[in-house]
């Protein structure tokens, strides 16, 4: 246990240094904020253009989309923060053979490396939300009583994300340098099917079924319920109580943890067998 903790701590420190020490702290803060805020502004302009040409405002739909998009920052950062560890150590820094041979848990090392990205993402989420509330009229009215539930939901949502990221890491043991495709594509699945930007009811029936099978859908719904309880947008999940969703997230995080172990170990086994642990695919 002590080794796990030490690995986690050192990997988290390493991840933070790799993410942030390429520039001055103020520039790193600006960098960390500009990307997600610009991402939010794409949606703001999409809404604005629709409102201009249709001469129709829909503040509830806008707030729904904005809050979902703010929390989606976690999805991109945590997933990328986990699965890119293997590819960057293998292809870019070419240090994977040394880390891999060290007497540590490589799984814990990856989780540690991802932690700094979670911290930076949390900062970006907070800035994006505050900006939306004060400058764009986004409707956020969280009560004090909802805070513990919100924190618990966030922790469980992040645990599920980490586990999914490790699953992808296990797959990327065997794939070529597809970091960007994965970084765009896998979050894209959640972007479309988890009711992040629009209610699930917009999707065809099979899409709704896919969305309901992904635990992140419930995480986004619960988060939005707690932060913006007055939106009144039908999400097709109103039959579930807050506590039921929380319980579902708890079960999902345990299940995904088991799945991540299985996929990671399987990917690792086949990569070792095929001699792919430290391959480089520089085209």
């Amino acid at each position: 246990m002590n080794t796990f903790w030490r690995t986690f701590k050192v990997a988290a420190w390493l991840g933070w240094e790799m993410d942030s020490n390429w520039t001055e702290p103020w520039l790193f803060i600006v960098y960390s904020v500009v990307k997600p805020v610009a991402g939010a502004f794409i949606l703001v302009l999409m809404y604005t253009v629709f409102a201009i040409i249709g001469s129709r405002q829909d503040p509830a739909a806008f707030s729904y989309m904005y809050v979902g998009n703010s929390f989606f920052i976690f999805v991109g950062s945590v997933l990328f923060g986990t699965f890119q560890v293997i590819q960057s150590d293998r292809e870019w820094y070419q240090t994977i053979r040394y880390v891999y041979m060290a007497p540590i848990s490589y799984y814990v090392y990856i989780v540690g490396r991802a932690v700094s990205k979670i911290g930076v993402a949390a900062f970006a989420v907070a800035i994006t939300l505050v900006f939306g509330v004060y400058f764009l009229g986004v409707q956020v009215h969280m009560t004090l009583a909802a805070v513990p539930l919100f924190l618990a939901a966030t922790a469980l949502g992040l645990a599920v994300l980490l586990a999914i990221g490790i699953c992808l890491g296990g797959v990327s043991f065997l794939t070529a340098k597809h970091t960007h495709g994965l970084a765009e594509g896998i979050p894209g699945i959640f972007y479309v099917f988890c009711g992040v930007l629009f209610p699930l009811s917009v999707l065809p029936d099979w899409g709704v079924a896919v969305g309901r099978a992904i635990p992140l859908t419930y995480w986004f719904d619960l988060t939005r319920r707690l932060l913006s309880p007055t939106l009144g947008v039908e999400t097709t999940l109103s039959g579930y109580s807050d506590l039921a969703i929380l319980a579902l997230l708890l079960v999902s995080s345990v299940a995904f943890f088991g799945l991540s172990l299985l996929i990671f170990k399987t990917g690792e086994y086949f990569a070792r067998k095929a001699g792919k642990i430290d391959m480089t695919t520089s085209y």
């Binding site: 520039t23 990307k35 999409m46 253009v49 040409i53 129709r56 597809h178 765009e184 594509g185 695919t281």
Partner: protein, 310 residues
């Protein structure tokens, strides 16, 4: 003059050498892609989902607007037409996203990446012109990216039922290829700049994703920015330094007709935008040539040409 020197200064020999370099550098991107079929799934199909999300946003807005306009057939028809035009805008933007990402990650960052993995010194020792090297990267990159761009277009038409009305296909092709040339010219210029930088290069490329998608109007007609009072026009003008802005605006006019969105969201007419793109293409290629030569010299002088992981 020795026979070797005569041969090296012979124009035909130099052209053939540089053409071979173009083919040689584009080869791994074109053939490498075929040898790694998983690439089509990861780079071609998965990214479609992100674009689908933007399509569904407009469809969601459209559905709510249709509900509100129940009983007014004229308003409903207008909402449907506008929604189709916006979805088509997203699909076109999605094709351009593919090329922009390729410019950032496979052109601009490529020399930096080659430095990191130790190939750069080999390129520098080879007798061809460096522009031929960058040209080969661009040709290979365009081919690789076309797969994703085409799959985005096909998905837009087949899955989302987007209707394009192309009245002037020759002009469409001209705008498309000139925009691509300008984009890759910009990428070549960045490639040389990145030679001097260390990890800032990677982060700069990452920083030029969402902010450029936003300021260049990849997912909405960029004219919408001019309708936002105050900061909107400033952002749009800054964004128009990226050729994709005018390229997309012209492509949208050519495929959706100038009357789409009530004709109120276009920047200039197509011909003016084509001229601007031609100017940008020439300018960026010239700047790329000079900056590559200058920065190569500077990198050699400062000893950064082969220094990795900085």
């Amino acid at each position: 003059m020795s026979a070797g020197t005569v041969r090296r200064t012979d124009l035909r020999y130099r052209i053939a050498l540089n053409l071979r370099a173009v083919v040689g550098r584009s080869y791994p991107r074109i053939i490498g892609a075929n040898r790694e079929p998983s690439w089509i799934f990861f780079e071609g199909l998965l990214p479609l989902l992100g674009i689908a999300a933007y399509v569904f946003i407009y469809q969601s807005f459209g559905a709510r607007a249709l509900e509100a306009a129940a009983g007014d057939p004229a308003a409903q028809a207008a909402i449907k037409a506008n929604t189709n035009a916006l979805v088509a805008s997203v699909v076109l933007g999605g094709t351009m996203v593919a090329f922009w990402l390729n410019v950032l990650w496979s052109m601009a960052s490529q020399l930096y990446w080659e430095k990191e993995i130790g190939n750069l010194q080999l390129y520098m020792m080879a007798p061809m012109n460096r522009m031929a090297l960058l040209g080969g990267m661009a040709v290979g990159g365009m081919f690789m990216t076309s797969v994703r761009a085409v799959s985005t277009l096909v998905a837009g038409i087949v899955v989302f039922g987007v209707v394009f009305q192309v009245a002037d296909p020759l002009m469409l092709l001209a705008v498309f290829f000139v925009a691509l040339t300008a984009l890759y010219g910009l990428g070549m210029m960045f490639a040389s700049l990145y030679l001097l930088w260390g990890r800032e290069a990677w982060n700069l490329s990452a920083l030029m994703e969402e902010p450029i998608f936003f300021s260049s109007g990849f997912y909405f007609p960029v004219g919408g920015l001019f309708r936002v009072p105050g900061w909107g026009p400033v952002v749009a003008i800054l964004g128009s330094f990226v050729p994709a802005t005018f390229g997309l605006d012209a492509l949208r006019q050519l495929t959706l007709s100038r009357t789409a969105f009530g004709g109120q969201l276009w920047i200039f007419d197509v011909k003016t935008e084509l001229y601007i793109l031609v100017f940008m293409a020439v300018l960026f290629l010239i700047l790329a040539r000079y900056s590559l030569r200058y920065l190569e010299l500077l990198a050699k002088r400062e000893g950064k040409l082969t220094s990795r992981h900085q």
